[in-house]
């Protein structure tokens, strides 16, 4: 667990964030009041199964949910600007202010590097377009220098050749590293990495993770690392949030959660991690994660939980706080 350049000031605080997607019958809640906080230079990991709201959370933080598809129904997202010390409420600023935050303060890299580049334009054009958003007047020379430096820091060389190529001429790993360089072009302080390695081979995953760690230190980034893979998260995250059915079920420092999980879901997740050299089948969690929208009363994990009793099905457990840790379970008070 890495402690690179920690300082205690918060850079991003999200409170009771909820979001829902429209469907023909009723709106489907994808996030049901999630709190997260991110300190300067810190890396937090967001873990959860598919459908738990991880990616929605990433989109919500940048207000990127398409108006036709869904809406952000509540909560506050506060970003602390460095220069002025001003607090910007991302959830209520207008579109042109928002565009100044996107890319410049908070950047995002997505799952699939193949689809995050436009196949018909060269790489350089991607960088150039991103750069001119935040720099109205610039010299081509300065941009080239800056891009070369960034490409160098993600181990893509020679810059000249890379920039003159089309996206399909690269492998997935190279493209994912290029997308990191692109995300960092305007010097953001927060990088949201939404399953950055899930579409890559395992050997390439390792390289991408190394690059990410390296960038974190070099540019003093605060990172929100989203993944379903607890092993990957444990490699980079200082603190972890476990999401289940659109809610945080447990949060706290990574080392403590791994050593001593409190919520039954976290416990089951950790048990189900395959161990090197272990014999026998992999332990899985019985049942399936609830479909968003099908969540009933009470604790959403209760139907799959081996400790659950009547109370768990009736009432939603309030979070239990203990130092830096928090979990929501009646059985572990």
């Amino acid at each position: 667990m890495s402690k690179y350049c920690m300082s205690s000031g918060y850079i991003l605080e999200a409170e009771k964030v909820s979001a829902e997607y429209f469907s023909s019958e009723k709106d489907i809640p994808a996030l049901r009041g999630v709190d997260i906080s991110l300190r300067e230079g810190e890396c937090i990991g967001i873990a959860g199964e598919s459908g738990s709201g991880k990616s929605t959370l990433a989109l919500t933080l940048l207000q990127l949910i398409d108006e036709d598809e869904g809406r952000i129904s509540g909560g506050n997202i506060v970003f602390h600007e460095k220069a002025s010390g001003e607090k910007i409420n991302i959830s209520s600023i207008n579109k042109s202010r928002l565009r100044k935050v996107r890319g410049k303060e908070i950047s995002l890299i997505t799952q699939d590097p193949y689809t995050s580049f436009n196949p018909v334009i060269k790489l350089y054009r991607h960088f150039r377009e991103a750069y001119r958003v935040h720099n109205k007047v610039f010299k081509e020379r300065d941009l080239k220098d800056k891009v070369s430096e960034l490409l160098d820091s993600v181990n893509l060389r020679p810059a000249e050749k890379i920039l003159n190529s089309y996206p399909h001429q690269f492998s997935g790993g190279m493209l994912q590293r290029a997308s990191m360089a692109l995300a960092l072009l305007n010097g953001p302080r927060i990088l949201i990495a939404d399953e950055p390695t899930s579409s890559l081979d395992v050997t390439i995953q390792k390289k991408v993770m190394e690059t990410l760690k390296d960038l974190r230190c070099r540019y003093n980034l605060s990172i929100i690392f989203i993944s379903h893979d607890l092993n990957l998260i444990s490699e980079i995250a200082d603190r972890i949030y476990i999401l289940y059915a659109g809610k945080t079920v447990e949060s706290g420092p990574a080392s403590e959660i791994f050593k001593n999980p409190r919520h039954p879901y976290t416990e089951a997740l950790l048990k189900s991690l395959p161990k090197l050299g272990a014999r026998g089948s992999i332990i899985s969690i019985p049942g399936r994660a609830p479909q968003p929208g099908a969540v009933k009363e009470g604790c959403s994990f209760a139907p799959r939980c081996s400790y659950a009793d009547k109370k768990c099905f009736k009432k939603e457990p309030p979070p239990v706080l203990s130092g830096e840790r928090a979990w929501a379970c009646f059985k572990r008070q």
Binding site: V101, K104, T115, S116, N118, E129, V133
Partner: protein, 275 residues
């Protein structure tokens, strides 16, 4: 580009089109006979060494008139498709990208345009504006954009949800800019295809209008109005007045259709046939 030239349809289409472009530009300088000079004593002569394609009712040289007509046909084809592109592409982009009200309004206009027979629309406008070659170009352009708008809109709708559009939004790029740099280049393939097909049908439309006496006015030559004469003297067995301009129309239209179809095979892999 190499793929394009390897495609036999595109290659043969291009050869024919270049042949006609060459004729329309250099033809009058090589074959130095006036297309309008009359010679009544030589009227309605069958093709001979002196008049390779024969003469018409006023003794004008049909070959000279076909050459001069090629210039008109090609320029009508290109200009009217140019006009259609200028109207159709932006409307399609707007309808597909912004959706909602804009989409509804634009697509209803397209539907209305499409349910009128084009030739009827053209006739109506020409009746108001008067027949002239410029009016023909404008009118054909103004009536042939709806199909293009549909293509562009469909392509825009499919590109709009791709992740790189979202990636651009993440970088803070404005919507209008995204439309211009990310979506427009992706719609180019269907646009080029339908533009090539459009040139062919514009040339045909011009010929029809001139044939009906609503396009190019005599004494200026056009493939369409040479055919008109051929129809009038058909009882005199003047086959050369029909065959030569008719072949010219057929060849250019087929050539542009070959290019269009060939381009579709090369540019649009979804419709590519296995060979």
């Amino acid at each position: 580009m190499n793929n394009l030239l390897k495609n036999k349809m595109v290659l043969s289409g291009l050869l024919i089109v270049f042949f006609f472009i060459f004729i329309s530009i250099l033809g009058p300088h090589i074959y130095r006979h006036s297309p309008v000079e009359q010679n009544i004593s030589h009227r309605l002569q069958a093709p001979s060494a002196r008049y390779i394609m024969g003469t018409d009712d006023l003794g004008r040289d049909v070959l000279a008139r076909v050459i001069a007509g090629s210039r008109i046909s090609l320029s009508v084809g290109f200009v009217s498709v140019g006009i259609a592109l200028l109207i159709g592409v932006p409307l399609g982009l707007i309808a597909g990208f912004y959706g909602k009200g804009a989409d509804r309004v634009i697509m209803r206009i397209v539907d209305i345009m499409l349910c009128f027979p084009t030739i009827f629309l053209i006739l109506m406008v020409i009746a108001f504006l008067g027949p002239s070659i410029y009016n023909v170009m404008i009118v054909i352009g103004l009536t042939s954009w709806p199909g293009l708008t549909r293509y562009v809109r469909a392509e825009t709708l499919s590109v709009r949800r791709r992740e790189y559009i979202q990636a651009a939004e993440i970088m803070g790029i404005k919507k209008a800019r995204i439309l211009f740099i990310h979506i427009l280049p992706n719609t180019i393939a269907p646009v080029i295809i339908s533009a090539a097909l459009g040139v062919g049908s514009a040339i045909l439309a011009e010929s029809i209008l001139s044939f009906l006496g609503l396009g190019v006015q005599p004494p200026h030559p056009s493939w369409g109005n040479i055919l008109t004469l051929g129809k009038e003297y058909i009882s005199h067995n003047t086959w050369w007045l029909l065959v030569f301009p008719g072949t010219a129309i057929l060849m250019t239209v087929v050539a542009f259709n070959l290019i269009g179809e060939g381009l579709r095979d090369v540019l649009d892999p979804r419709q590519r046939k296995e060979r």
